[in-house]
């Protein structure tokens, strides 16, 4: 045949220039895009779902070919691993890495067990999320690294996404994890940071992995929007989502063949690691059909187009009828495939989460932060624009505002007091912000715990609730819990000035304000002295696999601590004894929680935001103008609201002051 078209091996093609261009420089020119080569979803035993995109694979192989040809003159030239492994190969490589790196995620930081060529050799915590696997390790030597694999763990499932990157990035990473110097260096050329900056496909692959994770866990709940006047909008929401088919996701028929969901691993060492990495949130069977539908329609040809599961499943279930007319004068956005029809209204909810570390110490200031978001639901016909001023921005110490993609943010945000957006369908998070508390902390006071003997502790709480909080602010509930994860509570003694107390095996719970009896317009003071008795302390030996950062305690030092029996202070002695076999914390944790004594407060406050963020319903304008009632509500809940034991150790950080 007398013709050849572009995408062809450079060797024999008459269109040499074009084909070279099409393979080499074109992929480079379009390196900003995001394409997925393959997706694997593994449970602890086997591969469950596997998707690969031969079209992307073809691009990859062409890129490899041109890279290998170009690199032949260079000194470090070697072929990159150009094939996609079969399920079995990938699964065994994954297990191999798990054993080498201590857990499915890996060490993250270079430790003494790190071997050259493995991820932790790179010495960067992000290698717990972007991993490399050696395929068929025993067979080949150099070029069998598969990277970058995006690892996302959801429930019992490991979601692994392989985005397309240029082979030269793979080579750069190979150099990084095999280099002979002493680990991560700041400001070095070709550092991991500059690779990540160059590769939006990695970012995109994370978005894909998280979207798939949401589907696996059926965690497709929309952000919560509450109506302040009526108790709940649930019924209406259900009927709405039902009518556009959102509820159809979880109720879809289960696949014929039940997937292998057994989580009995082959050896116990791995089991411990898996359990630590993946908190079990109930192993439900995987809805393979839903996954397949999602993968094939959200990324035809491996290029993600829309990762909104509600859109995808609605289109799949309902399709479009001829009555779904496009807007007459505007283009309908791809993120809004359906237009709302019916009674119009708008709902806003400010939702804030309070994180606090309360020390009650002179040398360490208390630390309270608010992370908030404005959730929105716009039941508006057509494609209107909505705008409103953000009141409260002046008083609130808001430090970072970020918006939904539908919001139009001007280049120079001189007027960041106003938000303009074109709302999508359903509930969405309009904006997020970080702020400080404009009111005082909702719960103030101290918690003291002192060990009077090895197995008995005396504690005292003195708390002020809602001090200085005025009328619309209502505390719906407030509970304080003292966790003792490493001690078993045997008995407990003490009566609080208000509320009720209960114990579980490893904690004491104090309900100060119970739901149904909200606290509004007044502040209360609550005290709670008492003692708690534990079962005798037993030394917990760590399983060998969890020696984590792997310093095998010296025999000598063991002896020394045993000799400390003459230490007068029983607390210090106990702390020493207990902290000796603390397991290392995950890098995802802020610190080793078990090393500290603390009380955790959980509460919910409604009526107003604590940062001062607010929306004036009268100031919301909709264009083209329609009459739609606008509802605004707030709710504040606690995140990590911690009262550290005033008499014990506590984690802290330096204040950000010059």
């Amino acid at each position: 045949m007398g013709f050849k078209i572009g995408y062809q091996e450079p060797s024999s093609s008459p269109l040499l220039q074009i084909s070279c261009w099409s393979i080499g420089s074109r992929d480079r020119a379009m390196s900003g895009g995001c394409s997925i080569r393959a997706i694997w979803i593994l449970n602890s035993l086997d591969s469950v779902v596997f998707s690969r995109f031969p079209v992307v694979e073809k691009r990859w192989q062409a890129a490899c070919k041109s890279e290998n040809e170009n690199a032949s003159e260079e000194s470090f030239s070697y072929a990159v691993y150009s094939l996609l492994p079969a399920d079995s190969e990938l699964a065994s490589a994954f297990v191999e890495r798990k054993q080498r790196e201590g857990s499915a995620r890996g060490f993250g930081i270079r430790v003494s067990q790190s071997s050259k060529g493995s991820d932790s050799w790179v010495d960067d915590p992000i290698t717990r999320h972007i991993v490399g696997l050696y395929i068929n390790k025993e067979e080949e030597g150099e070029n069998n690294l598969l990277w970058p694999l995006i690892l996302h763990i959801k429930g019992n499932y490991f979601i692994i996404v392989l985005p397309l990157v240029e082979p030269r990035y793979l080579k750069a990473y190979t150099r990084l994890c095999k280099r002979s110097d002493c680990g991560n260096a700041i400001g070095a050329d070709d550092s991991l940071s500059s690779l990540l900056l160059d590769l939006p496909s990695i970012t995109g692959a994370f978005m894909v992995a998280h979207a798939i994770g949401d589907i696996i866990s059926a965690d497709v709940a929309e952000p919560e929007v509450v109506v302040s006047a009526s108790p709940s909008v649930g019924g209406l929401l259900d009927s709405l989502t039902g009518s556009i088919g959102i509820s159809g996701i979880s109720s879809r028929a289960k696949p014929v063949a039940a997937p292998v969901a057994s989580s009995v691993p082959s050896n116990t060492a791995v089991a411990g690691a898996v359990a630590a990495d993946a908190p079990k949130i109930g192993s439900r069977p995987l809805d393979k059909d839903a996954l397949r539908t999602f993968i094939s329609s959200s990324m035809p040809f491996g290029t993600p187009l829309d990762l909104s599961h509600s859109n995808i499943f609605t289109i799949k279930v309902n399709g479009f009828s001829s009555s779904d007319l496009p807007p007459p004068d505007l283009k309908q956005p791809a993120w809004k495939p359906y237009l709302y029809k019916g009674k119009q209204r708008m709902l806003f909810t400010v939702h804030e989460t309070i994180h606090a570390a309360m020390y009650d110490r002179d040398e360490i200031p208390d630390n309270i932060s608010v992370s908030g978001q404005i959730n929105c639901r716009a039941e508006l016909e057509g494609l209107p624009d909505v705008s409103f001023p953000l009141t409260g921005l002046n008083t609130a110490h808001v430090e970072g505002l970020s918006f939904h993609p539908c919001a139009q943010v001007p280049e120079h945000r001189a007027d960041k007091q106003a938000v303009m957006f074109s709302p999508p369908l359903g509930n969405f998070v309009l904006m997020r912000y970080q702020a400080t508390c404009s009111l005082g902390p909702p719960i103030k006071g101290f918690y003291q715990l002192s060990m009077v003997s090895e197995d008995k502790g005396a504690f005292l709480f003195k708390l002020h609730l809602m001090e200085g909080y005025k009328a619309p602010l209502t505390m719906e509930f407030c509970t304080v819990s003292m966790p003792f994860p490493r001690r078993r509570v045997v008995s407990f003694d003490g009566i609080p000035s208000i509320g009720t107390v209960s114990t579980t095996e490893h904690s004491v719970e104090w309900k100060i304000v119970t739901s149904g009896r909200g606290l509004s317009g007044r502040s209360i003071e609550a005290t709670f002295p008492g003692t708690v008795k534990f079962a005798p302390w037993q030394t917990q030996r760590l399983p060998s696999s969890r020696s984590g950062f792997g310093i095998i305690a010296d025999e000598d030092s063991d002896v020394e601590t045993e000799n400390c029996n003459n230490v007068v202070n029983i607390e210090e002695f106990l702390m020493d004894k207990m902290s000796n076999d603390l397991p290392p914390a995950d890098l995802e944790e802020p610190f080793c929680w078990q090393a500290y004594e603390y009380a955790k407060v959980s509460f919910k406050i409604v009526g107003a935001s604590l940062s001062g963020m607010s929306i004036d319903p009268k100031a919301v304008s909709i264009y083209p103008a329609v009459k739609a009632p606008i509802d605004f509500s707030t709710q504040v809940t606690s995140g990590d609201y911690i009262l550290w034991n005033t008499l014990g150790k506590c984690p802290s950080t330096a204040a950000e002051k010059a």
């Binding site: 261009w21 500059s194 978005m207 187009l305 791809a334 970020s402 280049e411 990590d640």
Partner: protein
């Protein structure tokens, strides 16, 4: 199930197909046993898909797509494939046997098979042309209601074909543009992306087609002559039709608000090179897209960063705004941790990038931002580790700015180091295996050596290091830690200690692994690393084991170089050691002397004799001892008399 199915075995039932698909995905031998089937696999699959009540239609299509590269294709199969596709597309969707998702998937799978098997080049061109024609017929009904999703999918198929066979659709660009302008449903994204790619390829291939011209009909579709004829077309397409292309760009730049975030990534990846080729004003792109940096969607932020990388000059002066934005992103507690880590990595990469352009600016910026990199209490340890990296980077900047402005930079570096470490200060009392310890020592190293070049041959490195403020700070830690010496090294013997300093890296690594610290050193390290390591080892030992140190006992330490060690005086000075030389006495023996020499054993003999005397005393009975004591004074006068 037998290992090897009989040659005549053909999968018919859904169960058969499931087994086959599983085997293919598993790979290896399980897949290999189906090899005999591969010539007819496509036909078999197609006939199953066309059965009315076959339940696995979609699944089978996906299978065909994924493993299309393993089929042996005959022209007759291609005919069947295209016929089946036509049949499915033209049948009305009854929502049961023929569904819209089935149609969409059939389009995608067929296109994918065509591309992976390279049907365009390996078979008669009419197959390719009829596929493209089919797709164009679907596409050519803008705003048609019920099949809008299928039209969007067909656009994606065309885009994929255009991606692999550039300028395949350039002759009909005019038609595509008008379709693009007309489409108002949500499918418009796919139309826009298709048209953008066509423009991109026209510009990249410098083809001189007119994008306004609609003289070539949309259907019947013919592959452009320039692609068929071979290299001959190159001579003519030297000039681009700039005016028309700019118009097309102006149209495209109006449309981004209809794109999804993922669509935006694709769009920007195509539009940026076009803008460069057409020499558009980068400020146009900036005005249009910079706002995305304020989105909480990480991928949109990354798009802006990519834009920045391409047009650094246009963004001049906005580096600090971008850096601030990335820093804020890392603080958003609502994000998944990995996006917060990514934001910090981008910031580091971004700093490196600016530093290559304008050194002073970046430094000033980093120094200015240093306080915002302080770790916070509830930051996960991974985030704390990266923030400490950034603080280390700041301290390097301060160090290097120190010479220029003789301010109190030193104090500031100290402060950064001390303040940063507060966040992981629990390493002082947690067991040595704790994550806090690992993070803290990673930070030590970053602060200490992050600024120096990693080359052992560079003679200036050691001087830089020894002059650095951080090193002075660490030195104090070092002095402080010497009290821990007895507890730390006493049990292990002095030779090992010496080994660290002088014997080269072999023992060093050993020592470090014993302590469980990361093996920082490999071969090719210079003197500098040994010193750093030494200080670090001492500090670490102090923190881990010094609780029971020999409080305040002043010991004298000597260090001895076994090999040639440069700067040993310097090292001794900073550790308050004395430099000694071999042979020296250690554990009663002369260290470093030849063991064959007789006189070195004198000391040993003497020692043994002393001990023997002591033992004799011990083993005398009480009565014997009394006799001895009594007897000795009674003999004293006699002894005295003997002297006389």
């Amino acid at each position: 199930m037998t290992d090897i199915p009989p040659a005549a075995f053909k999968p018919v039932s859904p169960q058969d197909w499931e087994t086959l698909i599983d085997d293919f995905q598993y790979g290896g031998l399980r897949r290999h046993k189906w090899t005999t089937l591969s010539p007819v696999l496509l036909d078999l699959a197609l006939s199953s898909i066309l059965k009315r009540d076959f339940p696995l239609k979609l699944h089978l299509l996906l299978f065909l797509e994924e493993f299309s590269d393993s089929f042996l294709l005959e022209p007759i199969s291609l005919d069947r494939l295209l016929d089946s596709l036509r049949l499915v597309i033209q049948s009305p969707a009854d929502g049961f046997h023929i569904t819209l998702p089935l149609k969409d998937q059939f389009l995608v799978s067929t296109t994918s098979i065509f591309i992976s098997l390279d049907v365009f080049n390996k078979f008669d061109i009419r197959y390719a042309e009829s596929l493209v024609e089919l797709l164009l017929i679907i596409v050519n009904r803008p705003n048609h209601g019920p099949d809008r999703q299928t039209r969007a999918v067909a656009c994606e198929c065309l885009r994929e074909l255009e991606r692999f066979y550039p300028c395949l659709l350039s002759d009909i660009a005019g038609h595509l543009w008008s379709l693009c302008q007309n489409e108002r449903t949500h499918a418009s994204q796919s139309y826009i992306l298709l048209f953008t790619l066509v423009i991109h390829n026209i510009v990249a291939l410098e083809s001189n087609v007119s994008v306004l011209n609609t003289s070539v009909p949309l259907v019947p579709f013919n592959v452009p002559q320039s692609l068929l004829a071979g290299g001959s077309s190159n001579s003519t397409n030297t000039c681009l039709n700039y005016k028309e292309l700019r118009r097309a760009m102006a149209f495209l730049l109006e449309s981004p608000q209809v794109l999804t975030p993922c669509g935006m990534v694709e769009f920007m990846a195509m539009i940026t090179p076009v803008a460069i080729s057409l020499e558009l004003q980068p400020s146009m792109l900036k005005v249009q897209f910079f706002g995305m940096v304020y989105s909480y969607n990480p991928i949109l932020c990354h798009v802006v960063l990519m834009l920045y990388l391409r047009f650094m000059d246009a963004f001049d002066g906005q580096e600090s705004e971008i850096a601030r934005r990335l820093m804020l992103m890392s603080r958003e507690a609502q994000h998944y941790l990995v996006f917060r880590l990514l934001a910090l990595h981008w910031l580091m990469g971004f700093n490196e990038l600016i530093s290559s352009r304008e050194v002073k600016k970046k430094k000033a910026m980093a120094v200015e931002m240093r306080l915002s990199f302080y770790p916070r209490v509830f930051d996960p340890l991974a985030l704390k580790a990266l923030k400490l990296d950034l603080l280390a980077f700041c301290s390097i900047c301060i160090e290097s700015l120190k010479s220029e402005s003789a301010s109190d930079a030193g104090k500031s570096v100290d402060k950064l180091f001390g303040d940063g470490l507060v966040s992981v200060s629990a390493f002082k009392w947690l067991p040595p295996g704790s994550t806090e310890t690992a993070v803290a020592f990673r930070a030590f190293r970053e602060f200490l050596i992050g600024g120096s070049s990693h080359s052992a041959t560079d003679p200036s490195t050691i001087r830089t290091l020894l002059e650095s403020t951080i090193f002075n700070t660490l030195q104090q830690y070092g002095r402080w830690s010497q009290y821990a010496y007895g507890g730390a090294f006493g049990g292990k013997g002095m030779t090992e200690d010496l080994g660290i300093v002088s014997k080269g890296y072999g023992p060093t690594i050993l020592k470090w692994q014993e302590d469980g610290i990361f093996p920082l050193v490999q071969t090719d390290i210079g003197q500098i690393w040994k010193i750093c390591l030494y200080v670090l080892v001492k500090m670490r030992t102090y923190f881990n084991q010094a609780q029971s140190a020999l409080g305040g006992v002043a010991l004298k330490y000597e260090m001895v170089s076994v090999e040639d060690v440069r700067n040993i005086n310097c090292l001794a000075d900073l550790l308050s050691y004395k430099v000694a030389s071999l042979p020296m006495k250690y554990l009663g023996l002369l260290l470093g002397a030849s063991f064959k020499a007789k006189n070195i054993w004198d000391g040993v003999v003497e020692k043994i004799e002393k001990s023997l005397a002591g033992w004799k005393r011990l083993y005398l009975s009480k009565g014997g001892r009394i006799t001895l004591i009594k007897g000795t004074p009674s003999n004293l006068p006699i002894a005295k008399l003997r002297d006389l």
